[in-house]
């Protein structure tokens, strides 16, 4: 199989790439990387991602890392297949918003409330409180945007929306769900994108 994704089942960045491939109806080989035994620090993995992070991606001879660069590549390279995901200018702006404004608090909350409990580590309530406040500020902007626009980038689902799915998986299963639910347009948008068949398929795969 020409497309390979090296990552872990629980990793949000790995999920980001997997749901993009699924939206594009693309087959791929999933190669688990055992983080707990330090597999990602071995030279064999560092040759795929010199930052030692998952996911790493291969398509034939091309080797990429950074999940959002990978999804953009998939959108362009397979433009004719599956859902169209090549971003317009406005959609790209909101993809930047996701990466630069939403992701920092969302990732920290995912770690505290989603991943740490799985690893038997204690949640830091001070961090949760502070990051919830940050997330709320971002979601206020989303609420205003989604009052005029079905999806973040406009009337069509795009990478800007897709990139949120992996952190939403954890946050909507945590007390942080309330921050989303308190904003009706945001809540409706979350429900819509999480109900997409491709996302359901990825969740059911493992």
């Amino acid at each position: 199989m020409t497309i390979k994704v090296h990552g872990s089942v629980f990793s949000t960045a790995t999920l980001r790439v997997r749901v993009c491939l699924t939206e594009k109806s693309l087959d791929y080989e999933f190669i688990p990387v055992d983080l707990r035994s330090g597999h990602h620090k071995l030279d064999s993995f560092l040759s795929l991602n010199p930052f030692g992070q998952i996911p790493a991606f291969q398509d034939g001879d091309l080797n990429l890392f950074e999940s959002r660069a990978i999804t953009r590549y998939i959108a362009h390279s397979y433009a004719g297949k599956g859902i169209p995901l090549v971003s317009s200018a406005v959609e790209d702006v909101w993809a930047e918003v996701e990466a630069q404004r939403y992701e920092p608090p969302a990732a920290k909350l995912t770690w505290e409330l989603g991943i740490k409990p799985m690893l038997g580590m204690a949640t830091d309530d001070d961090v949760v409180k502070a990051q919830e406040a940050e997330l709320a500020k971002v979601l206020d902007v989303y609420e205003a945007r989604l009052a005029h626009s079905k999806y973040l980038g406009g009337e069509a689902f795009s990478l800007a929306d897709l990139h949120h799915l992996p952190t939403l998986k954890y946050l909507m299963a945590s007390p942080v769900k309330a921050v989303f639910d308190a904003r009706p347009h945001v809540a409706a948008w979350v429900a819509d994108i999480m109900a997409r068949p491709s996302w359901q398929k990825v969740l059911a795969e493992y």
Binding site: L64, E66, A69, R72, H76, A89, D92, E96
Partner: protein, 202 residues
Amino acid sequence: MVVKVYGPDYACPKRVILCLIEKEIDYETVDVDLLKGEHLSPQAMILKLCAESRAIIRYYAEKYRSQGSELLGKTIEERGLIEQWLDVEAHNFQPPLYDLVYQLLINPKTGVASDPKRIQEDEEKLAKTLDVYEKRLSVSKYLASDTFSLADLSHIPFSNYLVTTLKKGYLIRDRKNVSRWWDDISSRPSWKKVLELHPPVF
């Protein structure tokens, strides 16, 4: 209608201006004073000026594909690598460097004390990233390929602080390939023009 760029004194708007010059696109600027901005703190002002600058440069590089320098590569695969190193810049390079600019150049102007521990951590993170760049640039003339691209361009405005007012040029000079790459990209006529037209204010 001519493109308007706000806050040319500062690094993120310079990223946009650099792209516009490379693509031979006319533009106008609107001055913004970071320290006297609209009842917002300097930090909020910087975020406002930085907002989505990479989306803006992607847009112009794509829309004006047929003129100026080609910044998005010749193939989809090369484009993928450019996007990858652009994301590396956004996640691993700019954040610690941005914090250093904040701690060492902006805080003094607003009377806020700097945090030596944080400065040390920022430098360590930046050094680790530059170690990866050093290795990459030993096999590739520029980050994504052997051609200058948007990924290299995106680094220029903030890197300039390292070799000037931050006085941390050694982070670049101590690394042979990074040093060679920096000399190359910072000597492009477009960057020289940016420095001449919009000299940094700190």
